[in-house]
């Protein structure tokens, strides 16, 4: 083995924890023959903090802000998922006003998470203007977060049995303004990316995954919908108020990095649609309707499971409660954890210059990968 390793002209390049393309801390050791990649080996675990073990040391209400810090760029969906699991354990139905508020907060979080992803794509492909324009749009979505939930990033907005507070004064008008402005200015960024043949040339034709491999590798979310799997938890397995929303799930057949990119851009437009419908329905609900239920501190025994459509894929939480104040066991299924495990398969046979483009399409968020 040693001499075979010696005179093979392949070279292991470590794209280590501190690397501009990694957007967080993970290593991709890549075996390179010239510039073509023959073998790859991802390594995660640099942000592992034993989140699930720490939950067993916290009461249920203390876990909500911790759940925000699972995937910090899409924090609303994770704390929302934890509250859903707890509500399923308590077997309660969240009041209607809270359901719609959660849907609005979820979709705002999805738009700002996709914009953060678009910014990351910009730096990976080498065009800093996309990075800054995407973050400029994201600032307006963060302002909506600040008005609705109080904090820019890790919003800590849902509670078990409802939401923290009702819509603030004039929020509905600001939300509509922000959405209109966003839809107009997203076209500026699209003109920078889709109309530039270099960007399309860099994205098309790399990171191929067939329809069968996507399910086999467990890749979920926009990465899966880019390869032809027509499945979206918000539509097929609706939770909260998503049942009443009509929106169209973008699905593309090609299965390369460019189609995954197109799926996410289309999803941003769909999110604006959902927010408009949710806002219209919120008007019809009387202002003083309850937005939160009284919930006991201890959750009864049993095993419970809930799923949610995170901007990066399918988030799933499995809760084993034993009637005390804190959970007995809380398992978190993170979509990026599984997508990264498939990176070895996606990266075969491409050039080094394509790795950032492919990995950007998985939209890494290492907080939830290492938990």
């Amino acid at each position: 083995m040693a001499e075979e390793k010696m005179n093979s002209d392949k070279m292991w390049v470590t794209m280590g924890p501190q690397h501009p393309f990694s957007h967080g801390l993970w290593t991709l050791r890549v075996e390179v023959d010239g510039e073509i990649i023959t073998d790859a080996e991802p390594e995660v675990g640099y942000l592992h903090r034993g989140w699930e073990k720490e939950c067993e040391n916290r009461t249920y209400n203390k876990i909500i802000p911790m759940a925000d810090r699972l995937c910090y760029s899409a924090s609303m969906t994770w704390s929302h998922l934890f509250c859903k699991v707890a509500e399923e354990a308590l077997d309660i139905e969240v009041p209607e006003r809270a359901q719609y508020l959660r849907v609005v907060a979820d979709e705002i979080c999805r738009i700002q998470s996709h914009l953060m992803w678009l910014a990351a794509v910009g730096t990976d492909v080498g065009n800093l203007t996309i990075f800054l324009w995407a973050l400029r749009e994201r600032e307006f979505m963060l302002d909506l977060n600040v008005r609705l939930c109080g904090q820019r990033l890790t919003t800590n907005y849902p509670r078990i049995g409802g939401v923290r507070n009702d819509m603030p004064y004039y929020f509905e008008r600001d939300c509509m303004r922000a959405i209109e402005r966003f839809e107009k200015s997203l076209w500026d960024i699209i003109r920078l990316t889709d109309d530039s043949s270099i960007f399309v040339g860099r994205m098309k034709g790399i990171g191929y995954i067939t329809r069968k491999d996507v399910a086999n590798y467990g890749i979920t979310g926009p990465a899966m919908r880019g390869c032809g799997v027509d499945y979206d938890i918000r539509r097929d397995d609706p939770y909260d108020a998503y049942g009443e929303m009509e929106f169209e799930v973008p699905v593309l057949k090609e299965g390369d990095a460019y189609s995954r990119y197109m799926v996410r851009i289309e999803e941003m437009f769909q999110s604006c649609e959902i927010i408009r419908q949710a806002m219209k329905k919120l008007e019809s609900i009387p202002k003083n309707a309850p937005y939160r239920l009284k919930v006991p501190k201890c959750i009864p025994e049993g095993t419970h499971m809930a799923r949610i459509e995170d901007p990066r894929g399918e988030g799933l939480m499995y809760l084993v409660s034993d009637g005390t104040e804190s959970p007995y066991r809380l398992k978190v299924r993170s979509p990026v954890f599984v997508n990264v495990s498939a990176s070895k398969h996606m990266v075969q046979g491409v050039r080094i210059a394509d790795i950032p483009a492919i990995m950007a399409m998985i939209d890494m968020c290492l907080g939830e990968t290492d938990r």
Binding site: V13, D124, S196, R202, D354
Partner: protein, 393 residues
């Protein structure tokens, strides 16, 4: 010896007296400036010595013709380097501010509206510790670095700003600049290899790959210009463009191809594969710390300046303005300023490309180079030949 005022001690001679000693037949502005500087500087020293020891040999010697001429040449080169150095800092400032404005933010506000930011960067990098990794190939590490910076600075000083602002009015004008320009990728390859770092090795290899794609189209474009102008000498090319028409009009295809090649030559964003930030950390500059990296960045901007200067010479008529004719036109305005403004305009196009375009992959630049730039430059050459044969130009 009675007290003598400094002015009449320094023999203020007209330029003609020096003509015998000066290496130039043509009037050369920086040499003239240098002579005046030395006359005031050297004259001051000589006058001081003369005060103490009146009528001694040294002060006479100091302001004699050969000594003035010798020191003037040294001061002239310093003046020429100072002008191109300050203009490079201006270009760096232009890039940071224009890039900032295009990204809808303010850019640097250090110093006066951001200009002193380049000074701040430079001084800071000079003060950093000189970190040299242990397992490097010492000779090539240092020679590669110094030659890259050396050729860049040498190039920047060889670019004539007008027909009276040059070091040497060499007959093979553009050819020498191209020859020195083509050296940089080899030195980057050697520097990349010497750093014993995988990223820099790949970066160095890419620099060599990149060179294959843009070098030959660039030379064919050069042939087009030289054929139309009739000589390699830059003064003749500019004079020709001034009499007839700027080469942009007839060789419009060549102009755009040349801009693409110039961007690739000075390794700026759409084609900055050897220093690809996202994939190769810092490409071939990864292991160069502190002052070494500061000088490399300066070298990059010098090469950008020379690439823009090439485009201006070949297509935008050097330092001539189409409007103002007449024989002593250079008395009404400064041709050097006109030339530098044109270079700044072309650099603006480079910065526009940097703000708008993502980075290209290695195989894509090779395709573009061979399948797009090469045919375009040949078509451009065909047009030039056609115009030349039919006697239009």
């Amino acid at each position: 010896m009675a007290y003598e005022s400094i002015t009449n001690f320094i023999v203020n001679r007209g330029y003609e007296d020096l003509i015998a000693m000066s290496p130039y037949e043509v009037y050369n502005l920086p040499y003239d400036i240098a002579v005046k500087i030395w006359e005031s500087l050297g004259g001051l020293i000589a006058w001081l010595i003369n005060l103490i020891f009146p009528n001694n040999g040294v002060s006479q010697w100091l302001i004699s013709d050969p000594v003035t001429n010798g020191f003037a040449i040294i001061l002239m080169v310093i003046v020429i380097f100072a002008v191109s150095f300050v203009f490079c800092l201006l270009m760096l400032w232009e890039e940071r501010k224009v890039l900032g404005r295009m990204m809808d933010r303010r850019g640097t506000m250090v110093g006066l509206k951001g200009f002193l930011q380049c000074l701040g960067d430079g001084l800071k990098t000079f003060m950093k510790e000189n970190v040299v990794p242990k397992a490097i190939d010492k000779k090539i590490y240092w020679w590669g670095l110094s030659l890259v910076i050396g050729t860049s600075v040498l190039l920047a000083c060889m670019v004539p700003l007008s027909n009276r602002w040059f070091i040497v009015d060499y007959q093979a004008g553009l050819l020498i600049i191209f020859a020195l320009f083509a050296l940089a990728p080899f030195l980057i390859l050697c520097a990349g290899w010497a750093q014993n770092n995988k990223y820099s090795l790949i970066g160095g290899l890419r620099a060599a790959e990149l060179m294959i794609s843009y070098e030959i189209p660039m030379l064919i474009l050069l042939a087009g210009t030289v054929l139309m102008a009739g000589s390699f000498n830059i003064n003749d090319i500019v004079a020709y463009q001034e009499e007839h028409i700027w080469f942009v009009i007839p060789q419009i295809i060549g102009f755009f191809t040349c801009i693409v090649c110039a961007v690739a030559e000075s390794e700026r964003v759409p084609f900055d594969l050897s220093e690809a930030e996202a994939e190769l950390v810092e490409g071939w500059q990864t292991e160069y710390a502190g002052m070494k990296w500061g000088l490399i960045m300066l070298g990059d901007y010098f090469r950008g300046y020379v690439a823009c200067a090439l485009v201006v010479f070949m297509y935008l008529g050097g330092w001539s303005l189409p409007v103002i004719g007449g024989e002593d036109w250079y008395l009404q305005y400064f041709p050097e300023i006109v030339f530098l403004l044109k270079v700044a305009l072309v650099f603006f196009i480079f910065v526009l490309a940097r703000a708008a375009l993502p980075r290209v992959r290695t195989d894509q630049i090779l395709n573009v180079g061979w399948k797009a730039l090469m045919p375009l430059s040949v078509i451009n050459l065909a047009i030039v030949i056609l115009l030349k044969v039919t006697g239009v130009m």
